[in-house]
């Protein structure tokens, strides 16, 4: 199993010469099993890169949405297979306490925010996801709610004897007075425990975090502490703040950890 980072930016896209190395597109990851089966994680603007990815089978495309903040769904309307009557696209994502996923997504995929209605797309299926486990092809997927404003899922994906945890928007230090010492009070712990590859929120510097506490994201130190706590094999940094240009990101990645730290750069492919 391997992953390809199609969009690594958080909150809002930032394109320009100062973000060429890490990328400016928002959250999207392609997961590919050894047999060629694929999953797409989130549909930020990075999903447009997959329009030209021929590893995606048009017969069936499954997109797992962690949550419905715009930086995770804004690319949906620009992902060509959703308009293709020859492509089956399944959208999997969280419900709210009062609305199913289709109704929630319909708020974006309808006028005035988007000219085409979700219900008018030819072969798009919408699947409500609740905490638990399910399979898609060779992928065994476990999901749970994680600490971020609004219903937000983290995913653990297992296939080919490897495991990936994807928590792009996550503030594990919130809700744990003793973070990172108390696993039972740490959001995302069970989902990420012992995972081979952890793709995790890496949004703020330590100087930025205090004024953004409760916004649902991690500082660099918190992401590293969480990865250490869960015993992750490697940490792929993700959801980079739009205020952080390449030089800043190079600087914040210059830290010592007890595991391999992989700077999340758009276009990077990593074997799990």
């Amino acid at each position: 199993m391997k992953i390809t980072l199609s969009g690594t930016r958080g909150s809002v896209g930032r394109a320009g010469p100062e973000t060429m190395a890490y990328g400016g597109d928002t959250s999207c990851v392609l997961v590919t099993a050894d047999d060629g089966s694929t999953l797409v994680l989130d549909a930020g603007s990075g999903i447009r890169r997959l329009n030209n990815d021929f590893s995606l089978s048009p017969d069936r495309i499954d997109i797992l949405l962690t949550h419905l903040h715009m930086d995770h769904i804004q690319g949906l309307g620009f992902f060509k297979p959703i308009f293709d009557p020859n492509s089956e696209v399944n959208l999997w994502g969280p419900v709210s306490s009062t609305m199913n996923l289709a109704d929630r997504l319909g708020r974006y995929l309808s006028p005035p925010l988007f000219p085409v209605r979700l219900r008018d797309l030819p072969r798009v299926g919408v699947r409500d996801v609740r905490p638990g486990s399910f399979d898609i092809g060779p992928f065994s997927i476990t999901t749970d709610l994680v600490m971020h404003p609004g219903p937000t899922l983290g995913f653990r994906i297992e296939a080919d004897g490897a495991s990936i945890a994807y928590l792009p928007d996550h503030e594990p230090a919130l809700g744990s007075d003793e973070f990172p010492k108390a696993p039972e009070w740490t959001s995302g712990y069970d989902l990420s425990r012992g995972v081979d590859l952890l793709v995790h929120d890496f949004q703020y510097t330590e100087a930025e975090y205090p004024s953004r506490q409760g916004w649902g994201h991690s500082s660099v130190a918190q992401a590293v502490a969480f990865a250490t706590q869960v015993g992750a094999g490697r940490l792929v940094t993700f959801h980079h703040d739009p205020d952080h240009d390449d030089a800043t990101l190079d600087e914040v990645h210059d830290i010592d950890t007890g595991f391999e730290l992989i700077p999340g750069r758009a276009g990077l492919t990593i074997e799990a």
């Binding site: 905490p131 749970d144 007075d177 959001s187 069970d190």
Partner: protein, 133 residues
């Protein structure tokens, strides 16, 4: 110990900031947290009470109805919240950790999480200020 549901983690975080005594139990009624004001009220630190059931802990308070009469188990707000999935409130008397008897407004609220999962209950113990010898 497995990780608690995110809804419980959020309530615990909130309760840890509150000045009112608050307990949290899981769906089976087992105590999973009480905050510092509860410690001050009952004279037991959470670390020392960890692992106690809610009923074990309640037994330490010598709980009676507000008039001093016996309070049956099924009349207690926490039991109503857990068994009937309804909020409940009652004025009760307890023997506080300092040995005094206090009248408490005991309020229990079921914790109904995402997908209507019954995750437990939280209990607020509001000291009415009425002390009894």
């Amino acid at each position: 110990m497995p990780q608690h549901p995110i809804e419980i983690i959020l309530i615990q975080q909130w309760a840890s900031m509150m000045s009112v005594p608050i307990w949290i139990t899981d769906a089976a009624g087992d105590l999973i947290y009480f905050n510092e004001p509860t410690e001050a009220l009952i004279g037991v630190r959470f670390e020392d009470g960890d692992g106690l059931s809610a009923s074990d802990l309640a037994a330490r308070f010598e709980i009676t109805d507000a008039d001093g009469s016996e309070l049956h188990w099924h009349e207690r707000p926490l039991v109503i919240a857990l068994e009937k999935q309804q909020p409940a409130q009652r004025h009760i008397r307890i023997r506080a950790g300092d040995g005094t008897t206090k009248v408490i407004a005991d309020t229990a609220i079921p914790i109904v999480g995402e997908g209507h999962r019954q995750l437990g209950a939280m209990v607020l113990l509001w000291d009415t200020g009425e002390d009894h010898p």
